[in-house]
Every structure is written in C-alpha cells, then in structure tokens.
Symmetry: none
Subunit: 206 residues, 4 copies
DNA sequence: TATGAATGAGTATTCATTCAT
DNA sequence: CATGAATGAATACTCATTCAT
C-alpha cells in the first residue's frame, strides 16, 4: 500500500522555510538550496512538491492571508458592535512585533514588492487586498449606519483604502525602521484617526 | 589637456536607467547588462563609474529623496499657515500617478523591501524616514499650537508616524493594486483623516 | 536510498585537473572553465564540490604534500643508517623529471609564488616547509651524532634550510630552464655538497 | 621644438610601479590601473610607453638583472683572489632582506613562476640564468685551478647549477616563509657548503 | 518519496587595450 | 605627451531545475 502520504506536512515545511529565509534575504536571494537546508530537506525534494520556486511563493501568500484571516475572526468573536468590529480588524492587522510574526511582516513587504513584477503573485496579492478592502468597506458602512451618518460609496471606498494603505505602510516601517519609530503606535493611532474622521461632521468627510 | 570629464552626466544616466529598469523588474533582476543597455552604454562603463551595483542603488535613493524634497519645497512656498504647510507635505508626497513618477513610486517600494536586507541601503532609507518624520512632527506641532491644542511629544510622534506610514502604504497600493483602488484618493483622504483627528477634542487624541 | 555519493572521486578529478592546467598556465589563468573542461565536467559542478577556486588550490597543496611524503616513506624503508636516510630524503625530493611529476614540480613553483599573495595558501605552504625543515634537521642531527660531530642547534637549522632551499630552487630551474641545465644533476650534487660539509672538520661548519 | 622627452624617466616610473605592485599581488593581479595609480600616472599613459603589459614585465626582468649585476660588480672590485670572487657572487646574490630589495626578491619569484607560462618572459629569464651559470662556472673553475684541483666540465656545471638553484630557492623561502626560517643564514651556509665540497678530495666530487 | 549530483545559463565584476580630447 | 572615458571579452560564482539512483 506504500507509505502514507505526507505531502501536506512537507509542503508546509517548505513554505515555512521560504518565509523564514526570504524575511531576511528577499525572494530572489532565497535559493532553493537555502530553503531546503532551512527545512532540513534535500533540495531535490522541494521541486518534487512544488513545480517551481514561484509556486512556493504563491503558497506562502495564501498561508499569510489565512493566518491573518483567522486572527481577525478570533478577535471579531468578542466584538459586539460595529465599532468593536472595526477595531478588531485594525487590531488583528497591526498587532505587530509580538511573537514570530516579524518574519511574516517582513515577508509580506517583500511579497508586495515582488508582486510588482510577478504577474501571478500580483494576482493573488490583489485578491487579498480586494478582500480586505471589501471587508473594511463593510465595517465602515455598518459603523456609519449605526451612527446615522450617510456616507457615499465613493467616500467609504476612499476611507477604506487609506486605512488599508496605512496598515501596509506600517508593515513597511516596522520592517525597515523599527529602531526609529515609536513602539506599538500603529493600531491605536490609526483607530483614533479613523474614528475622529468617522465621528466628525459629514461635511468634513468627502 | 586630456579628455573632459563627464562623470556627472554619465552617473545620472546610469542611475536613471536603474530607476527605469528596477521599477518593472525589481532590484535583483535589474542586471547591470539591462541597466547599461537601457542607458545606451557598454556594461563595463557602469562599473567604471560605480564601484558596484549597490552604489548605484544608494545614489538612486539619494536622487529620489532630493526630488521629493524639492517638490515639497516648491509647494511649501505657496503655503502661508501651518495647515497649508501640513497639506503641502502630504500633497507633495501623494501627488501620485501624474507625470513620470510612477516609476519612482514603484522603485521606492522596491527600495523599501531591499532595505530590509541591505544594511547600507537601510541606513540611507532610515535617514530619509527620519528626516520626513521630523518634518512632519514639526508641522503637526505648529498646527496644534496655532489651534491652542497642547499635544504631548509622544502623541505628535505617533501621529507623524502613522501619517508617514500611510504615505508609504499608498505607494505600495498604487504600485501593486492600482486597478482596484480609487483614483487620487490618497492625499485628500489622508488630509481629512489627519485634520479630523487634530481638530477633535484633545480627549480623543492619545 | 537516494543517489550514492561520489564526492571523493569528483574532488580528486577536479584537483587533478587544476594540477594539469595550472602547470602550464599558472593559477590565475587556470580558469574554472578550463579546469572543468579538462576534467570532463560541467563548470557548475566544480563549485558544487568546492566553495571557491582557492579551495581547490588548498586541496592540491595537500595532495602534493601527501604524494611527496609517501615517496619519502617508501625510500626510507630501505635506508638502514642515518646517511642513507638523509639521502633518501633528498632523493625522494629531487627525483625530478621522471614520471608525470613534471607537472607537479611546475605546479609547486606556481604554488610557491601564489603563497606570497594568498594568506591561506601561504599558511599551508609554510606548514609543509616547516615539516620538511624539521625532518631534515632530525636527519642531519642523527647523521652528525653518529659521526661524533657536535653541531649546534643553530648550525643544524642553517644547514637544513639551505638544503631545503636548494630543493625548492631545483624545482624552479627544472621548470623554467630545463633546456639549459644539466640532466639529473640535482640530487647527486646536493648530496655531495651536503656530505662534504658534514664530513669536514667542525671548524669549517658554522 | 616641443617639450623635452621624458620617455626614459616615465618608463622607469612604470617599471618600478609594476615591481611594487606585483610583489604583493602577483603579475596577473597587477592591473594596469593599479600600476598607473602607484606610479601617479594616468592609465592610458602606460600603454603609450609600453605596447602591452608583458612589455613592462620584460623591462622589469632586465632592470632586476641589471641591478643584481651592478651589485656583483661592486663587490667584485674588492675581491683579489678566486675565493673572494666566488664569495662576492654569492654575497651579492644573497644579501637578502636588507634595503628595499624584499620587493625585488618577491617579484623575482613571481617572474620565475610567470616564465613557466610566458614564452617571451621565459626567454629573458633563461638568458639571465645562463649568464649567471656561466659566471659561476668560470668562478668555480678559477678557484679549483688555483687549488690544483682538476674538475671536469660536467662537474663544474653540476656544482654551478646546484649553487644557483640554492640562490633561487633562498629567494623563494625568504618570500614565503621568512617567519619560519633563520635570519641571514643563506650566504654563509651556502658558501660553507660549497667550499667544503671544493676543498674536499677530488674523489668526493663527481 | 527522497537524495544529492549534475547542468548550463545568467550575474556582477575586472581588466587590457583603444581612443577622443 | 597626457588624460581618463569607453569597450567588450573573460572570469568566478550562483542557482533553478532536472535526473540518476
């Protein structure tokens, strides 16, 4: 009957290794050999499980998105009103620096840059962005609805986009300038700014 | 006597070529050959003018910073009060998409990623970040002072950082997801959000 | 499971190729491509087995030393008294020109020159020199002891060094001036000169 | 009438620079640029004065030989009998380490290695060797004649060759192993060995 | 599944030499 | 004579990918 399949475990091992290696070396410099060594596997095995190097990256993008999603879902469970849900989104995204997610944050920045030049990566990256923008728009709409604000679709889009951009930018700064930026500023500062805007008179918001 | 020097012109040519090439291919994939070809030069000449590839990148970072600076200085000339000056900063940074600066924006994103792994690049990158954060803090302080708000140093730092992060994040989104984000949303949305915060009661801001 | 290792065989193949190529072209001009071609291998494989070109050279120095050692040990087996042992050393070192060791001699001269500028090579080279000087000093001491001569440590050192220098110099002449120097002069001439000195009155020797 | 020619001075400057540079880097790594910089000249000027790099090396070989010759001629002036003349040859050749001739010695070793692979260099190198061997043979013949020893031509050749080889070998050891060999051993040790041989009964010498 | 040897194209960098000024 | 910019071939080394075992 042959040995039991361990495809899943091996793939995870390899993707994790790519994450670790590319967080410090970048994607181009994360050689298959380095990835294999980090995973404790023979280099040939990497290509047995993945058609090519790009396929590992694609898998990594999915992994990072899944992780972020589940973190958000967890936090959302305890959120009862729209404001708390919006906060949950931002908090889950910007709980930077704690745990081993510094690697993930650095890798995400690299992926962002990589998606400029790799079509397939860009597609998945955009899918993730789109999903997050949609979720943010929904959360913002619900929040403003509850507060009896009537925001146009366009306004909500703009706000969601700048908020999501702020999150991505915080990743960038956390990875490249952590010594010169405040600690743990991001989530709170972004929430304050966002709610100040949403709570202001509608004439302010465009 | 002897051949006249044209170092300055050639160096500019090469740096410009790196900008153009890496905007679409990334730094690693911007081969010296590709750069030379784009500049219409022999590949050996690139190394005659630059010690190594990294030196070109360093020069490019300086160039991009200089360009951004002068754009800001220009806009600031017409700004008479603190609010206008703060606006000038954001406008000069986020006047994306117009002119040939799409390349510059994409390159800047690549540089951000590259600075995670190249010490020397990171240092210059951080210098630029630091300078911008300082300027932003000054502008915010002046604005709040004029409005009789007393913000703590820490608060000003946090606000400046999230604002600068938003700018960097907008570059990221503009480069990788321009099809799925609103057009020209960034400057206005960020300014609205920022001033909503700064104009809110001090109890809101921390 | 998996492909059987042949590292040992391949490494030998590559080192042998370096020997052959550098004997006629020098180290700098022994390109990895030339070495690979001579060994019948793909150029990339050379770097799969050796970290860099210098590592091959280091391995070659060791190989040449090993070969010389075993030649000496073989000859020493048939030597019963101190004089014969001393002769065995010189004979094993200066049995030039016969067999395929012309390449080895030329390569050794190149290595000597190379060790002036490559630290790591110089270290191994010096180790080999030191070992040979020690052995020569021991042989000379034993010989003079048997002949009731009392030579100072310093005298023995000096003699050993000039003898070893003569050997190295003979390699040089054999490689660069073989047409204009006598055939097979070296071992006999050096032995005659050395024993004339050692057998002379102690007043002669200093 | 144009400016006065300084060809001679310039050529000397360049040859001296090659000597200095190649003493530490080897011939292959002594780039024209490095030579020019060391000489304080523009790189193009080097090729104005020398057809190619090899021509500088050829000139250097001649320079080193001339220097050695004049040192020998100086010492020979004070030598009145054959023994003193023979000593003068060895002394002039082995006055190592003093003055700035360490560079010259190292360069000579490099030239020896280089002459294995460069035909033209080998030819000059051999000319120098031949001249020195002839002189040594003459000196040995005169010495033995005075002492009423009748040495065959072959014997004299052999002795001259091993003596000259010893000199070359001493250069090698002085350049690559100076830390582990005695100081100033060479001239005295070689002379003792040589005269012990020449003064021994003719039955010893073959 | 797994190993690790093998390939060959690609990359940054160096450098002798030429040439415009 | 002199400068130094320009060329283009050569070189060590890297690496994704393939393949024999």
């Amino acid at each position: 009957m042959g040995r039991p399949s361990n495809q899943f475990q091996r793939k995870k091992q390899i993707v994790d290794a790519l994450l670790a290696v590319m967080a410090t070396t970048g994607y181009e410099n994360a050689s298959i050999n380095a990835i294999a060594k980090h995973a404790g596997l023979a280099s040939g095995l990497v290509h047995y499980h993945f058609k090519n190097k790009q396929a590992i990256l694609v898998e990594l993008v999915n992994l990072l998105d899944d992780t972020a999603q589940s973190r958000y879902q967890d936090l959302k469970l305890n959120a009862s009103d729209p404001k708390q849900k919006l906060s949950a989104f931002i908090d889950s995204a910007l709980a930077l620096g704690q745990g081993s997610n510094q690697h993930a944050v650095a890798a995400w920045v690299m992926i962002g840059a990589e998606s400029i030049r790799q079509e397939e990566v860009r597609e998945i990256y955009q899918t993730v962005v789109k999903k997050n923008l949609s979720e943010l728009q929904l959360l913002i709409r619900n929040y403003s609805k509850e507060n009896d604000k009537k925001l146009t679709k366009k306004t909500i889009e703009n706000i969601a986009t700048i908020v999501y951009g702020s999150i991505e930018g915080s990743y960038q700064l956390a990875s490249t300038a952590s010594e010169i930026i405040p600690k743990n500023y991001a989530a709170k500062a972004l929430k304050n700014m966002l709610f100040a805007l949403l709570d202001a008179g509608t004439d302010v918001i465009i």
